[in-house]
């Protein structure tokens, strides 16, 4: 499963839960599906979903990934957050077609009730500089937090960093296990709708842990730089760490593996040291 779908799934579920007319929702995560008859909301994950000619479904439909093709009739809304949406000639979307992101292809012969667009790329900027803005903002934010933590809780960052360097395999294992389990639990909670707020809080807590881990990596890198001022060293270290992660993330497969290893090791170290409150000591073993 593509992890990038998870935040969009939570957004889609938030939209579903805010719609009083929707009683049930179905998620199509993988596979190829022909939808000719359907009740309630439909969320298209990484699946390939077709509404064939002659079919009529009520909607709303949320496209958060995969490929959605409409050749028949959708009487309600269609909201595209990602993925590819194709509305063929002769197809009808009775209410609103809202495009936020992703690839949208609407044939001339298609009948759309109302069409709105919130073009995210227009806000961020479509040029090369614009695509770097979120990364720069994130880097500066983490560097700022790193500066404050070094100022007030330098020992905590030392504890996390020493867990990373002293027991990388154990920290990676803990991070991997926590990530796999809790991502699934939060998605599962979100699907219940009742626990959606808990899932949102959980995802935020997870992101916070991830950020703390990156700062600890930055602290570790900073300590190895020839900079005497500890806070400045951490700030530079965080910038190096986040930049390195972003560059590595652009390399296919190997880069992803490196990024995952770094982030998961950081998460593991943050959790086992209780956010740096204590040093990590493994169980004693005889020689």
């Amino acid at each position: 499963m593509n992890l990038a779908v998870i935040p969009l799934l939570i957004v889609a579920l938030l939209l579903v839960s805010g719609n009083p007319e929707v009683e049930i929702a179905q998620l199509m995560m993988t596979g190829v599906h022909q939808v000719e008859d359907h009740d309630g909301a439909l969320i298209v994950g990484e699946a390939e979903v077709n509404i064939p000619t002659g079919a009529e479904v009520p909607g709303p439909i949320y496209v958060i990934g995969g490929e959605m093709t409409v050749a028949g009739v959708v009487t309600g809304d269609v909201i595209q957050l990602a993925g590819t949406l194709t509305v063929k000639s002769g197809a009808t979307i009775g209410d609103e077609l809202q495009h936020v992101a992703g690839t949208l292809v609407v044939s001339d012969g298609a009948e759309i009730g109302r069409r709105t667009s919130l073009d995210v790329t227009a806000i961020v900027g479509d040029d090369a500089a614009g695509s770097f803005i979120p990364g720069v903002v994130l880097t500066l934010f983490l560097a700022g937090v790193g500066y404050m933590l070094t100022n007030k809780r330098s020992g905590a960052l030392d504890n996390v960093a020493s867990a990373v360097t002293g027991h990388p395999v154990a920290m990676f294992t803990v991070g991997l296990l926590l990530a796999m389990t809790f991502i699934s639990i939060f998605v599962f909670m979100a699907l219940t709708l009742v626990l959606l707020p808990v899932a949102v809080v959980g995802v935020l807590a997870g992101l916070m842990t991830l950020g703390y881990g990156v700062i600890a990596w930055g602290h570790l890198i900073g300590a190895r730089l020839p900079i005497r001022h500890q806070r400045l060293a951490t700030v530079i270290g965080v910038i190096v760490a986040t930049t390195g992660i972003q560059i590595a993330g652009r390399i296919a497969i190997l880069g992803d593996v490196i990024v995952a290893a770094v982030l998961l090791t950081g998460i593991g170290a943050v959790v086992v040291t209780y956010f740096g409150v204590t040093q990590f000591r493994p169980a004693p073993l005889p020689d």
Binding site: M1, I24, Q26, L27, M28, M29, T30, G31, H33, H167, V169, A170, T173, V174, L176, L177, M180, T181, S184, I185, F188, L191, P282, A283, L285, P286, D287
Partner: protein, 418 residues
Amino acid sequence: MSRSEVPGGVRWIGYLFYVAVLAAGYYYNLTFVQLGIIDLGTRLVGLSSSRVSAVMAGFAVAALVAAVMAGRVIDRRGWSRDLRVKLRILFFVVAVQTLLTVTAPLVGSATQLTVWVLFCSVTLGVGMPVTFSLMVDLIPVRHRGAGAAVVAGLAFAAAAVYPLEWRLEEFAPVMTVLMAPAVLILGVVAYRRFRFVDMLATQHERFGIGRFAPVRTASSAFWLPVALMFSVFFIDSLGFLRIIDTPVYIHASWQSPEVGVRGFIAVSHVLGAAMAGVLYTVFGRRWLFVWILGLFAFTHLLYTFHLATALSGVDPPLLLPFFYVLAVSFYTTLNFALWPDLSTPRNIGLHAGLGVGIAGWLASFLSTSLALYSKGAGISLLEHLRYVNALALLLAVAFPLFLYFRRMRTLAGLGRAP
């Protein structure tokens, strides 16, 4: 002979021998014994589910009695500290098992099945304490998590990939081909004098005492892990037997015609075992138990959710078997390392016999019998899994609470101290 006199190459031979024996033995257990006997009873002999469940329950009890008796005997006679004697017992066990494997397809009546199962359970029962006790001779305490992980990962990965059909006719030839050379090698190693065997036989003096030992057999430090392991094995088999009996689940996972899906299951087993090996080494057994119980609770929650919602109309995602596989690899790894680590070379036979016999065999086959009975009684998969889920959730909540209150009691005791 001191530690420095055992060369690194010989120690590696010990590691490889342990992994080969335990992985092959567990593969045999996973495929031929657990799935093959059910197939033999229901399809080939034509018995009802309830009759086969009774046979399986008898199998479990006989295996347990044999394991405990064999464990006690090898401890009392000092064989648990004699690698060469253990190899000779193992040779006889594998030789008889090979014979039983070859004759299994010839079993054609209920009486023959009962006799066959009795022989099978007794040889397995004798083999349990012997094979599990090899760890105290061959694997140092520091490497037991890794050793257990390699065994669990290899056995499960192999079982996930081959054989493709869970039928006795598929299992029996594969096992015979594997076991025949094993009997030969074991015979040569056990009865001819080799210097490397003499060297390996001295290693228990150096690292034979487990990391949680010494632990008295009649103590909660021993029986609490037995009870927890019993619960885990029980939950696993109780749910698994009904899940694999449901085409929509089994054909999308363990019995998928797609090689990629089977490969995914195999890799997940290896991943789960590796993670468990690391966690066992670094954190110890309690945290691993907490994770195992939590994983089982979550897994059964996923299955019941999938069954109970509109999602049941859609192919089940691989996430369901993935978490199941993770939980199973975790507890199997723990099972291989735990009993030797709760023992010394003087009581490993009895501890392994009790631990593996009660927690492993008795729990597995009692729950297998219960699962077969539930199927025979017409209880739906959803209703059955609700019971399993309730049990898993109860344990997942109760065990951390138990640990918390025990810690609180310890701290309160410390507070009263002068």
